[in-house]
Symmetry: C2
Subunit: 230 residues, 2 copies
């Protein structure tokens, strides 16, 4: 086996990166086995050959690939005979838009909700770095982020409206088949599941049906334990 | 010729509906000729056979089709040998997401900016209806909407970030070829052009290059005169 996926190691096997979840879902969709390589927050020099310090990093037979979108494109191009992540070039092009929307809008709405409980679950030795980094990015303390969770959840639900309207007209975000557009969005939900008990969407939200369908499409995908009900 | 497109008639041939612009761009991309049928705000009963009262409505050999997305799908399915609007089923699926994002987020950010100057350009007889309808939808008077245009433009530019990031990695929103994802977004800009001199994006915004490329792809597309510089 030649594939390795570098991820961050936190407590109890939890997985706090929506970008790592995207890569794991893409690998699963392609039916590819790989070795998961957890590294600590203080061991990012181990990602050196990728030329940067962020997970996920995929190593394919000595080639280092970073950035979850680049990893998805590599998997699609290197295994064209496996189930497609994009359904062709136009599907790939428009999936990039969904991916960027998820980065900017969805994760933008989630980060103030999820950074505090992520901090709760990372190793004590890594907490000072995480706290300083995230508080700088948000211009706000972790304690301040914990306030008004209900308002933040309401904002998140409004942010999801383009996705909600899309899956009310078709089964998945990219049409009738599951693919990377779905995984790009599901990654945020799996981050939440891994470190919090927040109910981001209600059972009667059309996105609840969509989320179950995407998870079903990847079979008995390991969601990471412990984790909370979706 | 059997295609007719029902649109709203306002002053001087201006075209204030982003949804009509989408349909016009899609027809142009397909290379289809059609008759434009302008109706007044008070003549919506002429759309009766479509079962609703909103433009655009396409009539294709006696069949009435409403909703700009449905019109695009009809054109794609009825003229499969003409240049594709979606580039296949996965492209169509993901283009629906871009379309919904444009409806909710982009047009949501534009409407308070553009409803007042639209009102300035519609026939006097239609102004009371338009004013009452839009003020109810916005819970705000047209005069109040005119305030803080700079703040609204700044918000609009932030809203466009997922599109901006996408076309920094590929030429068009759906990949390397222009298509309906682009038209769904361009429609908002052409609405703005038709009734205002607002500079929605600066020349150094990457979206400026994208917009010129989309317009170039449809050749000497009639932008409607009078209209303002994009």
């Amino acid at each position: 086996m030649s594939l390795q996926l570098y991820v961050l190691r936190i407590n109890e096997g939890r997985e706090p990166s929506p970008f790592v979840w995207r890569a794991r879902l893409a690998l699963r969709h392609k039916g590819l086995d790989y070795e998961r390589v957890p590294i600590g927050y203080g061991e990012k020099d181990r990602l050196g050959p990728s030329g940067q310090g962020l997970v996920p990093v995929l190593v394919d037979a000595g080639r280092w690939i970073h950035d979850s979108w680049a990893i998805a494109c590599h998997l699609e191009d290197a295994w064209p005979d496996r189930p497609s992540l994009f359904g062709g070039e136009a599907g790939r092009g428009a999936a990039l838009f969904v991916n960027r929307w998820a980065d900017v809008e969805m994760l933008g709405a989630l980060r103030l909700l999820l950074w505090p409980p992520t901090w709760d679950h990372i190793p004590i030795a890594d907490q000072p770095y995480f706290k300083a980094d995230r508080e700088t990015k948000a211009s706000m303390t972790l304690d301040a982020m914990r306030e008004d969770a209900d308002g933040k959840i309401a904002r998140f639900r409004r942010t999801m409206e383009p996705a909600r309207q899309t899956i009310q007209r078709q089964r998945f975000l990219g049409g009738e088949r599951p693919g990377y557009a779905d995984f790009a969005v599901l990654g945020g939900f799996l981050w939440a599941r891994s470190i919090s008990e927040l109910r981001l969407i209600e059972r009667d939200d059309p996105l609840h049906r969509w989320r179950a369908d995407v998870l079903a499409s990847v079979g008995d995908f390991p969601l990471g334990e412990p984790g909370h009900a979706l």
